[in-house]
């Protein structure tokens, strides 16, 4: 018999940006649209302003990053990467993102399905002028599609569906 681990996390930070390369903006709340993306973000369907917009995939609708990974990068590499710098939309606390590929989970009242692990992109080093590409390999967050939309706020719970 397998024991399924239980976890309960929270939303620590929320960020969007209008276009590739531009700074991420911290938000108290974001609005998710099922099958489309986050209102105002570069990867929202119909916006196509992201670095990867020419290669659409469902998992670009919303991306998540563990706050714990920021702490690891500081500890292991001495590099301070801020929540607005990893360029994912949701910074999570207490969520085992790497174990969620292929699964559904709740972000606030919204329902997400994780499509794959994110991979880092060299262009983040150009943007930040920090050598974060190597430290981000294998801890670069999670790509998800949005099955049920709604509003997500700072402090909202994240839990298995």
């Amino acid at each position: 018999m397998s024991v399924s681990p239980t976890w309960l996390g929270t939303v620590a930070h929320l960020h969007i940006t209008a276009r590739a390369f531009l700074p991420m903006r911290g938000m108290p709340a974001i609005e998710l649209v099922a099958g489309q993306g986050i209102r105002g973000d570069r990867y929202m369907i119909g916006t196509e302003e992201g670095f990867y917009s020419a290669k659409p995939e469902a998992g670009r609708q919303i991306t998540l990053f563990e706050e714990e990974a920021l702490e690891c990068i500081r500890r292991d590499h001495g590099i301070t990467l801020l929540p607005e710098e990893h360029r994912r939309n949701v910074t999570t606390r207490g969520v085992p993102l790497t174990h969620l590929v292929g699964r559904q989970f709740r972000l606030g009242d919204c329902l997400l399905e994780a499509t794959r692990l994110s991979i880092p992109c060299r262009h983040i080093e150009e943007i930040l002028e920090k050598p974060v590409f190597d430290p981000m390999i294998n801890r670069s967050g999670l790509n998800c599609c949005i099955l049920e939309g709604g509003t997500v706020r700072l402090g909202d719970a994240i839990r298995p569906a």
């Binding site: 276009r19 531009l22 990867y52």
Partner: protein
Amino acid sequence: MRHIRTVLRAAEPAGPAIRLLTLMDPDGWPLPKFRPGAHVDLHLPEDRVRAYSLCGDPAQQDRWLVAVKREATGRGGSAFLHDGLAVGDAVAASLPRCTFPLAPDAMRHVFVAGGIGVTPFLSMAAALDRGGGDYVLHLLHRDAVPLPALLPRATVLHDTAAAGRPALAALLGGPAPGLHAYCCGPPGLIAAFEAATAHWPGGQAHVEHFVPPPLLPDPEARPFTLVLARSGRSLDLPAGAPLLPAIRALGAEVEASCEGGICGACRVRWLEGPPIHRDRVLRPEERATDLMACVAGCAGPRLVLDL
């Protein structure tokens, strides 16, 4: 999407044959941050790329100021930015890069600028004014003063048409511990500056040439000839030039995603090399036939690809 989209929001004359451009995001979103002394590449029609220092205050995040001097003998980039670009037009730009930074440990900075070469010092002065840094800007000019409205308080003007070029050694006053000197301007001024600082301790005299070096060069890199076997086209690459844009310039299509050698998108078969791999996706036996174009170089004189 490789470039930053900006829109020309304002343009005004700002000194002899100088047009000052204000570039902003189409929706007024903050632009990427830049460090004092940084520049951007502007991508102009006909694949022309021109580098310009950002001469505004780095703390003002919603706009980039770029000062363009009309170069009568130039290659047409400055003429386009003077005559061909109207307020409201789109301008594609690169991320800011800083190859001419302020020395972080300096106690005093002496800037020597020749004419339009004053531009990188304007963002430095704004940052130092904000942080209470100690500096002086010596601006040598032959015609009217460039960018008069943007010059900082601590500017000393030297009219070289009236008095000739001042003795740089006297302006610099150094060397001294904590004193850093910087020069940007025409080649003759840079040469005079380098002569005047030749006896300074290493790393305390800095010059900015108008052509920036490529980003993150590989010290081991050597020049080679890139050959595409199927089309027969070839291109000579200088040491450290990136492969992917060169392949594309020859008309071949290669996917790319991470551009850091880990995602596997840009895999290409090679026929002659040997390549310098630098990726982290290919296994040793795969490297015998394939390379990742986003990070690979070449150890031999020719790199032939199956494209």
